[in-house]
Subunit: 558 residues, 2 copies
């Protein structure tokens, strides 16, 4: 299946939800002229459809192959990646001082969306490098930035995030990888990391691992973690003592090698501290917040791909003398898929716009971004799973046959609610940290903005969200966590409903393709009239408390 880049949709969001013109009014982003924005939106889509999409099936069927520490990508991947580098698609939002184009980050979001819609597994190599760049910009020394950033910005080298260890998953503080001072001012790294995305591969000449480790005498838990640059090849050209021990056999994203990485097996793995000793968690959150928005975007990517494929199949497949798209329940599924995909995309792009405003020094935008990041990650990825499952369903029996490709999307989508902090961790972040930001004022401001637009279909849900938020703000930590996931979904749907309503209003006055506007309007109505009411009933779970969950012993849970 081919894919058609959703350029009209992206352009519409940039105009009406992100406010790209407002961003370009700032000197820093003055280069983001309408023509350049058009060129990026069109160019990224064409590049992704032309270079990445044709490799999607091979990425799934052949996938990354490990042999004695070497990971080989299927034919064509290296060339496509080199074309990505040559075209400068990785450098959109990086600072000009390091070879970047200095454009708003939300334009990099457009590029990332297209790459991932074309080939989700492959695009992970493009997704984590920006996180490494951001960590170095914010926490590295001038010398480190000069050494590492230029080739990360072009994509000649890729970056990885090394958090997880076998005993330390969601509990990052339990990690055991050690860093001890070496004679030359570097650190000797020793330990094993798991679940390292693109930890080894043959796409680039070097790989820049950012590795969390403990220095001697470091405090227990997350306060004793430091972040290190640990390259595959050192700057002097010598190989570092870094080895990919194996890759995982996964449900999906087979084009993304998920590596077990051994650091310092021969006692000669060198790393360089980024930021302060024991300051690794802060640097890690810099990376994670960047990555979390991009994982939310993955939900959008896979939903878009699944949606397009299902719609195309429904127009072709004839049953009962007409294409199945003619049947009401098939249309219900397709419109639901469109509505959910558009809603999740609006949420991620809106959050992306806040990120750029935050970079311009807007503190309110930073606060709203902080509140919305767990929503974008968790709701975006839940949407990816639901839409890709509906995509299988629209295909009927053919959806269950691997050759059709619908099943690949269903498998690929399932990772996104898990990595970069499970969606449960996102929900805990929402109710534990974000809901109470500035004494609840950040949450209240979002609710006030939603109310200010006076969307009648949202009134009941927004009341319920506000009640639930008030309950959670005053209850015990356990009750808050017990209701966290339903609350996250409610607030996400309310926010998405608001963004969909705003788009529907913008569509009334917009000068765009009539077919695009018709779908935009119908999707917004479907979301507001049929999906929003479904979220109202989540209030019971959001406010029901923890006691019922503990009414049964762990052993009796089966």
């Amino acid at each position: 299946m081919s894919f058609t880049p959703p350029t009209a949709e992206q352009r519409f969001l940039l105009d009406h939800i992100v406010g790209i013109a407002d961003l370009a009014a700032h000197e820093r982003f003055a280069a983001a002229t309408p023509d350049l924005v058009d060129a990026i939106v069109e160019g990224a889509g064409a590049f992704a459809a032309g270079e990445y999409a044709p490799l999607n099936r091979a990425g799934d069927e052949i996938g990354a192959v490990w042999n004695d520490g070497v990971v080989t990508m299927p034919d064509g991947f290296r060339q496509a990646y080199q074309a990505f580098v040559a075209n400068g698609w990785g450098s959109i939002s990086a600072p000009e001082a390091f070879g970047g184009q200095g454009l708003p980050n939300v334009l990099a979001t457009v590029v990332m969306e297209d790459l991932g819609t074309a080939n989700m597994g492959f695009s992970l190599v493009n997704m984590l490098t920006p996180a490494a760049i951001e960590a170095l910009i914010q926490h590295g020394t001038d010398a480190q930035r000069a050494d590492w950033l230029p080739k990360l910005v072009t994509g000649e080298w890729n970056g990885t995030m090394n958090l997880t260890e076998p005993q330390a998953g969601s509990d990052v503080g339990a990690l055991k990888t050690r860093a001890t001072p070496a004679e030359d001012g570097s650190w000797r790294i020793a330990g094993t990391k798991i679940f390292i995305t693109f930890g080894e591969h043959d796409l680039t000449d070097n790989i820049v691992h950012l590795v969390l480790a403990r220095t001697p005498g470091a405090p227990e838990g997350t306060r004793g973690i430091s972040l290190f640059i640990v390259p595959k090849i050192r700057l002097d050209g010598t190989p570092n003592d870094v080895r990919c021990v194996s890759i995982e056999h996964k449900l999906g994203i087979h084009a993304s090698p998920t590596c077990v990485m051994a650091y310092g097996d021969k006692g000669d793995c060198h790393g360089w501290l980024i930021g302060a000793e024991n300051g690794g968690m802060r640097a890690m959150f810099t990376m994670m917040n960047n990555a979390r928005l991009n994982v939310g975007l993955q939900g959008v990517q896979i939903a878009e791909r699944a949606r397009q494929q299902a719609a195309a199949y429904a127009r072709e497949r004839v049953q009962g003398g007409q294409p199945i798209v003619a049947y009401p329940d098939v249309r219900r599924m397709l419109l639901r898929m469109a509505a959910l995909t558009q809603a999740a995309r609006a949420l991620v792009y809106y959050a992306g716009g806040q990120l750029d405003r935050a970079h311009l020094g807007d503190g309110d935008a930073q606060a709203r971004l902080d509140l919305l990041t767990p929503l974008a990650k968790a709701y975006g990825t839940d949407v990816g799973c639901e839409v890709s499952s509906l995509g299988v369903q629209v295909h009927g029996g053919m959806g269950y046959i691997e050759e059709t490709g619908a099943a690949q999307h269903f498998r690929d989508a399932r990772i996104a609610p898990i990595y970069e902090g499970t969606n449960g961790i996102q929900a805990a972040d929402l109710v534990g940290r974000k809901l109470g930001l500035e004494g609840g004022a950040v949450f209240a401001a979002l609710i006030a903005d939603i109310r200010a637009d006076a969307v009648p279909e949202l009134a009941v849900l927004v009341d319920a969200v506000e009640r639930a938020g008030a309950t959670l703000a005053t209850t015990s930590a356990e009750d808050r966590l017990a209701g966290s996931y339903p609350f996250l979904t409610m607030l996400s749907v309310a926010t998405c409903g608001w963004l969909m309503a705003r788009q529907a209003r913008a569509a009334e006055a917009a000068d765009a393709d009539p077919a695009f506007l018709a779908l935009k309007t119908a999707a917004a109505r479907f979301y507001l009239e049929r999906i929003v009411p479904e979220a109202v009933g989540l209030e019971a779970g959001a406010t029901g408390g923890a006691a019922l969950l503990y009414a049964v012993d762990a052993e009796a849970l089966g």
Copy 2:
């Protein structure tokens, strides 16, 4: 992962939801004494856990293998199947006249549940034979019953259902397989069937295909379809002209060969008509209704397996100094999984009890069964998908690694909403045929029964279901179909809520394992207090009509 047969749960349902004692009070089922019921519940669970469960991973990883028309199952499958035959597990509910035990069908449901929980793909060979038996009992001649039933009843031969052709999926009436009279009173069959479960394998010495075909001059569509017995080996011992051309490469249930079957490639495939010429649809519905309850049961099976595995993992996996089962959101997922699994099981068992009452001549029970069959199939399988997805989530990153096994359940579960009539077809059946049965009296009687139990947590949902049912009964066919799926879910949740409330009341007075009763009570509360409210919001979709779905051209859907 091992699995523990849910014997206490099954026994509780038989007592309190099925009313097994009432069934045994009838002469026909007098053999179903409490001791025999206990022996079946315990014995089937032990058999499934001992013989079928250990083959589940091999079934997935190796699966059925096709080579030049021959399908080979992995090591151990033939022995396990032979043990199934030797133990008589296939003969529970078949008539004594044909070697069966003449027991209530709901006891065969217990056996089928355990086999499928142990090994869903493998158990499909056991699932379709009863459908063939039922078709022969209801529509075959005495001679046909004498010829074919004994070895189908023991399981020495298995039965298959041959409906689908490449152009004829949900639209069965479009099939093209031909049957022409042969000189010896049989029919010559010619055509290709796809998606034939266990159409070829090495478990049995013969395979009895029930094949839908058209006779010369038959009317168009479903009124011109006849059903034929087409054995792999004819009764005289000669091979029939039947060949498995290939098997599908599927997302899951790899232990179940999904066959493309060629009938009559050499012009020498003989079949024998079952029932009247052009009466095939009636016979097919006999098979399908039987199979639909069993597919609903598959949702329960895979949910149970996923649930047990997730609960065990959550007790073992330590993060932050305690097993993850201690965390509220993990507990929320596990209790939700338990509540959904129990609810779906209650629905399927309750429907199964109605089937046995119908066999005793109870017309009201037949009518209720007709109403509940699409609910049991669709909601049961939706639950299987949701619970197996939650099972992946509880495992975190390990859930995405195939070796863990959680992903297999997620893949296996996804077929059930598709086959035996997609869930969309079930929803269409509900609003198109079942809602209006006896002028709506069948639906009204169910609602009245639910109301009679006066469960406060159900009041709002039942009101909404009743309103939606009234709307759908009087609206256009298109609007009815547009709302069919949300309506099916609402009605399913209301019915399940009722059955869960009845169980919670029974648990108050029951003499059973305290841990079992504690989970039963908590699951019922979770279902009533937190899941039931979620279904209320579906009213908007159920009654919103079709106009919005057609507001966008098919082309503009993307």
